[in-house]
Each structure stands twice: as C-alpha cells, then as structure tokens.
C-alpha cells in the first residue's frame, strides 16, 4: 500500500470511529448544555442501548431475517426504549438533585453508571454477546481503499441522525426552548416554558442517540460487553470537551477530530496502538491550555 492509500484507509477508519464518538458526545453535550451536568452514566446508556438492540434483534430476526430492515427496526425500537430509560433516570436520580452542590449530582451520575453496568453484568454473567448479523464483508473499492457496505451505512445513518438533530434544535419550537433553557432556566420558567418537560426531552434524545451508536457499534464490531460503555463514555466526554462542551456542532466536530486523531495516531511509528490514548489525551490537554473553551465553545464564567 502506498502512503496515500494508508492515509485514505485511516481517513475512512477515523470517520467511522468519529461518527460513533460524535453520536455519544451529542448526548453528553446536550445534557451539559441544559442542566450543566456531566452525565457519567451516558456511556452506560450506550452500552444498555447496544444490549437492548441485541435483544430486540434476536426477537425479530425470525420475523424479518438478518436483513437491514431487521437491524433498522431494532435500532428504532431500542432508541425508543432506552430514550425512555434516560427520561426515567433523569426523573428519579437527577431531578431531585438539581439544587444540590454540583459535585453531589456528579457522584449521583457515577452511581447511576455503576447501577447500569452492574445490572447488565449480573444479567449477562459478564459474558461477551456475539452480535451476529448476516451482512458479511461485501463492499466497494474506492481507489485502493476497501470500504464495506456496513461501514457506509453506519456513517450515512450517523450523519442522517446528526442532521435531523440539528434541524430539530434549530427549526422547531422545542429546539428553541432547549436553547433558551441553556441560557437562562428561571427566565424560561417565567415565560411559561415547561422546563421539566424540555429537560426530559433532552435526556430522551441524548439517550436515543447513544443507543443508535451502541447498536451500530454492535453491528460493526460483532460483539458487545457490559464494560464497553466506560471507554466510549470517556472518549465521548473528551470529544465533547474538544469541541467545546455545550455546543452541538462542537460535539460533532469533536467526535470526528478525536476519531481521526486516533486513527492517524496508530500510524505514527513512535505511537502505535499502545500509546494512542496518551496521544489523544495529550492533544486534548494541549488544546485546552491554548484554547480553554474547546474548538467551538463559548467563553463563560461560572464556578462549581
């Protein structure tokens, strides 16, 4: 392979990885934007979403076969189910904590994360589950780079979801309410906006997007595990911060930047796969030193 081919192959890998990160990072950033909570349970919702998708897929594959229709169907259903779970978590665990010290609600989020991952661990006995789909490895050559149809479909559907979200936030009344609440919650309440409902909606959308990424990752990697939410949670958090936490285009950009950084990082001889996380965290720290609010973040002053 020539250098150009390696470059293009890593570009493709980076875009796929990046679109997973971006989808999960969106939920992080939306929740942060609206209630200033770093939702550490978000990565676990991705994991739960992946398992729910797996369950639904096994239930309906007899009906629809191992087709894209079955995968799509299970993805939509699990997005709904886990979206509602996200709303439930918000109601039970976060709603009562909104006036508590910021660190307490952070610890609550960590507790929720432990509850989710340990529940799934108990249910699956900590085993890997094979996410079997009959999609095979068909694909197309673009230049000298081989891309499977699965990869293409995943990137396209991730892009589709992001466009829908963008339109929702910028064109609908609820999207406008969301942006308004991010600026001043009390003023919104005075203006007659049902703040709690909008917050719940934010959790629903964030959880649903993480679920979509979870199901996609299951299809892409072929196996799922109860601990898989942790790493992606960290990565998505990093992506959200790179882009400027609270900013929706920032999360998309941050996800892609992080995915590309990791893909290209593995190609630098001194870095390789072992050091790639050091590389991406190092870049993150450098970026924050020189641009403390992330790539697209706004400067704001607030304290813990």
């Amino acid at each position: 392979m020539s250098n150009l081919d390696i470059f293009l192959q890593q570009l493709a890998n980076g875009l796929i990885l990046g679109s997973f990160y971006a989808l999960v990072a969106l939920g992080y950033t939306m929740v942060y934007g609206i209630i200033k909570l770093l939702n550490f349970a978000h990565g676990d919702l991705y994991m739960v979403g992946s398992f729910v998708g797996f369950l639904i897929l096994s239930a309906i594959s007899g009906l629809l076969g191992d087709s894209w229709a079955a995968i799509l169907c299970s993805m939509v259903l699990s997005m709904l189910a886990v979206g509602l779970l996200g709303v439930l978590i918000q109601r039970v665990a976060y709603q009562p904590m909104l006036s508590a010290p910021r660190l307490s609600i952070l610890i609550t989020a960590l507790a929720v994360s432990m509850v989710l991952s340990n529940t799934v661990m108990a249910l699956t006995n900590g085993e890997y589950k094979a996410f079997i789909t009959d999609l095979g490895y068909d694909g197309v050559d673009i230049g000298n780079v081989f891309v499977t149809y699965t990869q293409i479909v995943l990137v396209v559907s991730a892009a589709f979801l992001m466009v829908v979200l963008y339109l929702f936030v910028h064109k609908t009344l609820y999207g406008k309410a969301m942006r308004a609440i991010a600026i001043d919650q009390d003023a919104c309440r005075l203006m007659g906006i049902n703040v709690n409902r909008v917050i719940a909606l934010t959790f629903f959308i964030g959880s649903a997007l993480a679920t979509a990424a979870g199901v996609m990752a299951g299809v892409y990697y072929g196996s799922i595990h109860f601990a898989m939410g942790f790493v992606i949670g960290l990565k998505a958090f990093t992506a959200a911060v790179i882009g400027g936490i609270g900013s929706i285009p920032g999360a998309m950009l941050g996800g892609l930047v992080l995915g590309l950084l990791e893909a290209f990082g593995t190609q630098i001889p001194a870095i390789g796969t072992e050091w790639k996380d050091v590389f991406s965290f190092g870049i993150l720290i450098l970026l924050l030193i020189f641009k403390p609010t992330g790539l697209l973040g706004k400067t704001e002053i607030e304290r813990m």
């Binding site: 660190l103 006995n125 993150l284 403390p292």
Partner: protein, 294 residues
C-alpha cells in the same frame, strides 16, 4: 481519643480478615483525606487522583526492586516525584473552568496509567514484583498487624495535617477560592498559587500512601490505578461529606466496609453498593456527615 485507643487495641482481638479490611479502610482514609484537600478545601474537581498514588507506588517499587534502594529512602524521592506530578498537572491547567479541569485531570490519570503499562522500567502490563518489605529498627514489617499500625499511623498523621491546614492561613485562602474565586483574588489571594498548593499537598498524601501500599503488597500493576480507582476515592470524599475530616473518614470506611459487609451477595454486591450510594446522595446530597456552612 477514645476512638484512637480502640483502633490501637483492635489487632489484639480481631481476626486477620477483619484486620485486612480495616487496614484497607485506613489506607483509603489517607487517600480520601489527600483528595479532600483538593476537592473539599479548594473546590477543584480531580478525576485523576489515582495518578499521584501511582507515582508514589511506582517510585518505591522501581527504586527498591530494581536499584535495591532502602525503602525509607524512597519516601522522600516519592514525595518529590508526586510534588512534581502535582505541579506538572496543576501548573498549566488551573486557569481552566471546573469541568475542563475534570477532563484534564482524568486525561492525566489515564496517561500515567498507560505510561506505566507500556514502559520497561515499570514492568509493563504485568507490573512490578519483589518490592522490598521495609525494616523498622531491625524488625521486618510483614504481618498484617504491622501494616495495620502503619496505616493507622499514616491516617492519624493525615488527619493531623489536614486539621492544621484547615485552620491555617492557606486553609482559609482555599475556602475563599472555593466559595468565590473572583472575590478571593480581589482580596489579594493569588488563586493560581493557592490552587497549586492544594494540588501539590494532595499529591504528597497520595504519593506517601502509594509508597506504603507498594511495600504492603510487594507487587503493583497498572490496573490498580485506573479511572475507577480515582472515582472510588472521590466517592469516599463526597459520600462522607466534602471538606469535613470526620465526614471524609466516614466516607472512606463506608467505601471499604460496604462491599465487605455485603460479600454474601456475590456479583450483586456492587449493584447494591451503587443503589445505596444513590439513595444516600438523594437523601443527603451534602454527604453523610457534612460540613456546616453558613
């Protein structure tokens, strides 16, 4: 005082299992008190505290197992290394907002762990073995009751230092910075240097605890210093009550004793622990034994 007396005589009556658990509890007390200086006193969120603990443990581990240095001589080196680590992470980043600081400390913690896993001198993924047991006036510290006293002493020392710091000029400066950074600066408190002190002193607590941890275990591996470890220490601090010494001790004990008491539940015990933690936070958002603030 009475409690300290009781803690002193426990090894005479308790079984080895109980001693092991209690030693662990004192050990986490030291770590939690160290993190409490950063989080509780100065109000800086640190998600990578295990890194300082790792620096101490690895300094002792490398020096004793590969260079044959006497254990006690490794402590000052470990203190210097942890201070350096505190400055490296604190220096350039303390101007960041709290949440960004959280991700930077988290990244720093991960970097330390990955470096430890990939370097030759740290023994790679399998870690270091054969760390020397310390000698104390000719007696080798090896039994669990020896280490019980070692960690009890460290915990008492940590309490004493924490208490003195809390009531010092620096302690009050931390409190001002925590409550209102801008007002503190307006009053002439150099907020960057004050925060840096918090990082460095917190790092030293972690580093020293790490030295003795390495000596007790005689083997360390990078998997001891994961993000989960940092989170656990933070849990101890917040669960007990940030900023209040007795609260933090209660938190550290809750952290260690809970999973032990519910050992019968097997794989469900972490789930139960998490649910209890959630309930505690919901009903006592300031922690079990919070600091009174006006």
């Amino acid at each position: 005082m009475v409690l300290a007396g009781v803690a002193m005589v426990i090894p005479l009556v308790a079984s080895n299992y109980v001693l092991e658990v209690l030693t662990n509890a004192w050990f986490y007390t030291v770590l939690c008190l160290g993190l409490n200086i950063v989080v509780g006193y100065a109000g800086l969120l640190d998600l990578g505290y295990a890194a300082f603990f790792a620096v101490g443990a690895y300094t002792t581990g490398i020096l004793t197992s590969q260079f044959g240095v006497n254990f006690w001589l490794t402590i000052p080196v470990a203190v210097a290394c942890s201070m350096l680590a505190g400055i490296v992470i604190g220096g350039p980043t303390l101007r960041l907002r709290s949440d960004y600081l959280a991700i930077v400390t988290l990244g720093f913690g991960e970097i330390v762990r990955i470096v430890a896993r990939n370097l030759k001198i740290t023994g790679g993924a399998s870690g270091l073995i054969g760390i020397e047991r310390p000698h104390f006036f000719g007696m080798e510290l090896s039994g669990i009751h020896h280490f019980y006293y070692v960690f009890l002493l460290l915990a008492i020392l940590a309490c004493f230092i924490s208490y003195r710091l809390q009531n010092s000029r620096l302690g009050r400066a931390w409190q001002y910075v925590r409550e209102d950074e801008d007002a503190a600066e307006a009053m002439g408190i150099g907020r960057v240097s004050v925060k840096l002190y918090a990082y460095v002193i917190g790092a030293v607590f972690g580093g020293v605890a790490g030295c003795f941890f390495a000596a007790k275990m005689t083997a360390i591996s990078p998997e001891t210093f994961t993000f989960t470890q940092s989170v656990l220490i933070l849990l101890g601090v917040v669960l007990g009550g940030m900023g209040k010494i007795p609260g933090v001790i209660v938190g550290a004990f809750a952290l260690v004793l809970f999973p032990e008491v519910f050992r019968d539940l097997g794989s469900m015990r972490m789930l139960v622990f998490a649910i209890v933690m959630l309930v505690i936070m919901l009903y006592r958002p300031e922690g079990i034994w919070p600091e009174k603030r006006s």
